[in-house]
């Protein structure tokens, strides 16, 4: 009868947690921003188109140099681009198709990636033939959904369809810490910009976003107000909040310090799932890419849509604002 005891206690605690969160909920973000000037115009144009992938683009990552980016595709290719000139600087063929995760290392010398092979591998870009110097960083028991370098070239954080996240040491290929708690496939993760190396958030098919303490491996906060799979998660620039994009056609802003959801970005006319989210430099604009070919731009403080960007022939599967905030790249097939 242990299971029944435990299940009962869990239900009791969940109610208690909701009560505790409610006690400090003494303000509303949107109401508090009523006197703030709304954004009337967003002047964002398609400046460059990066064509080269033969299949759907599944993932992308900007280099810290604010100019290069890496993208991976369903066709099994990893491409490194110079976004200023639109030239392709590297083309690496993966051993697997469906490369769902990729990341540029902080130094710009490596890219990490993986997908249906369940593995996260790293390629040195400075070598003549990067594909020959490929190194295995870690293996999961299901597909690799996302990965990011943890503050340096030496550690990579991965999220997998096996519902765990793992922090790996690149040199040794050893697991430094594993993170268990999601009840479904992990789809996305993001490292805190303010608690570098100490905190990250992950989100997945269990409709939840989990905030983790990287040293202890414990889930310190859990937010499960979405009504469907959460596909994307991104920290707010100050690190005090994060936004999620979900199949329930909404994006939500979660405030870490008050431990609650504080805003929902949705509209009756927006029916399709959101696959990718990112903030502009100040955090005032939220870029969200959806399955109906559109990139919606939301005013974070008013929860109102301020622009719709087209220019894609298919669903927007990933997007990222460049580190210095000067541009946003959205991928599906070929266009950025």
């Amino acid at each position: 009868m242990e299971e029944q005891d435990l299940t009962g206690e869990i239900e009791t605690l969940k109610k208690k947690l909701a009560e505790e969160q409610g006690k400090l909920s003494d303000a509303d973000l949107i109401l508090s921003c009523q006197k703030i000037e709304p954004i009337t115009q967003v002047n964002i144009k398609v400046r460059k188109v990066l064509k080269g992938h033969q299949g759907k683009v599944l993932c992308m990552s900007w280099s810290q140099d604010k100019r290069h980016l890496v993208s991976t595709s369903h066709d099994g290719k990893l491409l490194v681009w110079d976004a200023f000139t639109t030239n392709k600087e590297h083309a690496i063929s993966m051993a697997t198709t469906w490369v769902m995760a990729c990341a540029y290392s902080p130094s710009g010398q490596f890219v990490a990636c993986g997908g249906l092979d369940n593995k996260c591998s790293i390629y040195p870009l400075l070598e003549e033939e990067p594909v020959t110097k490929k190194r295995l960083v870690g293996t999961h028991t299901s597909y690799l959904a996302c990965c990011q370098f943890n503050t340096s070239d030496h550690q990579v954080l991965t999220g997998s369809g096996d519902s765990t996240c793992v922090l790996w040491d690149v040199e040794s290929g050893q697991m430094i810490q594993s993170f268990h708690g999601h009840a479904g496939d992990v789809q996305a993760l993001d490292l805190s910009p303010s608690e570098s190396g100490r905190v990250f958030v992950s989100a997945g098919c269990d409709r939840a976003a989990n905030v983790w303490d990287m040293r202890s491996g414990q889930c310190v906060q859990l937010f499960d107000s979405h009504e469907s799979d959460v596909n994307s998660v991104r920290f707010y620039p100050s690190g005090d909040a994060f936004v999620t994009g979900s199949d329930d056609a909404s994006c939500r802003l979660f405030d870490l310090r008050t431990d609650r959801e504080v805003a929902v970005y949705k509209k009756e006319s927006v029916l399709f799932g959101c696959n990718a989210v990112d903030f502009s430099l100040s955090g005032r604009l939220l870029f969200a890419g959806y399955s109906d070919y559109v990139l919606n731009v939301w005013d974070v403080l008013k929860a109102k849509r301020v622009a719709m960007l087209y220019g894609h022939e298919n669903r927007v599967s990933c997007l990222r604002v460049v580190p210095d905030g000067t541009a946003v790249a959205g991928f599906k097939d070929s266009a950025a």
């Binding site: 242990e2 299971e3 005891d5 435990l6 299940t7 206690e9 869990i10 009791t12 605690l13 969940k14 208690k16 947690l17 505790e20 969160q21 400090l24 909920s25 003494d26 303000a27 509303d28 973000l29 508090s32 921003c33 954004i39 967003v42 002047n43 964002i44 400046r47 460059k48 604010k66 100019r67 976004a83 200023f84 708690g181 414990q218 889930c219 310190v220 906060q221 859990l222 620039p237 100050s238 005090d240 405030d255 310090r257 008050t258 431990d259 609650r260 504080v262 430099l281 100040s282 955090g283 005032r284 604009l285 974070v300 403080l301 604002v321 210095d324 905030g325 000067t326 541009a327 946003v328």
Partner: protein, 98 residues
């Protein structure tokens, strides 16, 4: 406080269950491995929830005013809201040589 007592009670329960599980496995009656996994998962969830209840929260009014402040102090430098003159992504004007 009430919350603190509840958490203490739960931690005691977890300890008791761990001890019982140990005793059971050394005796002949063994739980199927599926049930064991399920119980382990539930215990993990319970420990997580206890910790999450303990979280030191701040008032929403405080935290959102700081989010708003952050945005206001950074909006001027946000290139997608206040475009800069030398946008590296802007196509350069071509010049013809005659």
């Amino acid at each position: 406080s009430v919350l603190f007592k509840l958490i203490k009670k739960l931690l005691k329960l977890i300890k008791k269950l761990k001890a019982e599980a140990k005793a059971q496995s050394s005796s002949k009656a063994a739980m199927s491995s599926h049930r064991e996994e399920q119980v382990a998962r539930l215990k993990h969830e319970l420990e997580d929830l206890s910790r999450q209840c303990y979280f030191q929260r701040l008032k929403t009014s405080t935290t959102i005013s700081e989010i708003i402040q952050y945005i206001n102090s950074h909006v001027q430098e946000d290139p997608l809201l206040n475009p800069v003159k030398d946008n590296p992504f802007n196509p350069k004007k071509s010049c013809e040589l005659l």
